[in-house]
Symmetry: C2
Subunit: 229 residues, 2 copies
């Protein structure tokens, strides 16, 4: 189960400035993969030293991270990585449910049907063996490819940014959820259905199935909450 550097969502948006980009991207990465766990304190001077920049730039970066919901700042007390409460996770799922469904719908409407053949192959029978080997990295990578290609086909920057932001906040949970016995198999099964609808150009059906898929993920999460949070 070699660590793969897959699934790194990238949000371009904020200032093309190369230095700021590196700083923001690296902090985002550490938070998203729990290298900086929820509740971890972020000291401005420490980070300034490590990245070789002044505290002013750290503070500006903190502003953006807070806006994205990745950290929380308390006046005069500093910044900590946002803790994920169970109800906040529920809220995130309620929003993902409709946004990912819309992503699939738009992708189906805007891209030619053969676009999805590669993904159908990726989610094909070979994926069953992959899962049988407990190769969760390969499974996560497949899900990542699905997201990326849908986002690209949906051709909607606003939607793309929102989904990336939501994904950042739930990425760790999703990776843990995959470990629950049976969840990955069910996820595969559902994605095959979604892709079949997309291949057939049935945008509305694909949207409905994707929505059901996220709702189901939320239900699994609720059931295994105590193991996942």
């Amino acid at each position: 189960m070699a660590a793969r550097k897959s699934s790194s969502t990238v949000i371009e948006l904020a200032s093309a400035n190369p230095g700021t980009e590196r700083l923001l991207g690296e902090l985002r990465r550490r938070i998203v993969c729990h290298e900086l766990p929820p509740g971890a304190r972020l000291r401005e001077q420490d980070l300034a030293n490590e990245f070789g920049v002044s505290r002013a730039r750290i503070r500006e970066t903190f502003g953006i991270l807070e806006e994205r919901g990745l950290i929380e700042r308390i006046p005069n007390r500093g910044a900590i990585v946002t803790r994920l409460e169970a109800d906040k996770v529920k809220e995130l799922f309620e929003v993902r449910e409709v946004l990912e469904a819309q992503m699939v719908r738009l992708a189906t409407e805007k891209a030619p049907p053969e676009t999805w053949d590669a993904l159908i192959e990726l989610f094909g029978p070979s994926m069953d063996e992959t899962l049988a080997r407990n190769d969760f990295d390969a499974y996560a990578e497949a899900n990542y490819q699905f997201r990326r290609q849908c986002i690209a086909a949906a051709d909607n920057e606003v939607l793309s940014n929102l989904l990336d932001s939501l994904y950042d906040r739930t990425q760790v949970l999703i990776r843990r959820l995959v470990l629950v016995p049976g969840r990955a198999q069910e996820g595969i099964r559902q994605h095959r259905g979604i892709l079949a609808a997309m291949r057939a150009g049935q945008a509305e059906e694909a949207e409905r199935l994707k929505r059901a898929n996220i709702r189901d993920a939320r239900d699994w999460f609720t059931n295994y909450q105590k193991y996942l949070l």
Copy 2:
């Protein structure tokens, strides 16, 4: 048609710091109501002088405004208010469509039916007279109330923040769209239908109607684009 200070969306989130809150809130207000029109240049020193703070705080505020999509920053060239292109508007509508529909669904599911009686009264026959008088402020205020009460009932902070952010970016367009002959009447009609479904506890039907409502608004916008942008 006295100017009313209604419809000011408030995003609490960012740093409870009172000074920053004032700065961010005021800049947001000026951008949203086009007191600072799209393309307007924002000079750091000018704003620093006006608000009596240092440029560092202006810059941190700029980072947040850029993250919200309200301004764009070009390295070494400064910040300008984001211009709304026609395709960006289309993207915003594609996202609003599903988020507002979900808002209505969740509100219907989570709040008791009698919650909506006040809004049903507000959108009742008296609103026809209001529109006959071309009192668009009162109409905008009613729409604002609908939003606020749904948001409150939906009880989902993530959704609330996203909707506020989207609304900030389209607020001016919506206010202009109301001027198009017939649009306001149609909006009222559709909201009566949505509220009826909500009162009856038909969450799914309310969601469907709200979605159709936003799609319709998008279509009107497309048709009258040249007058609105």
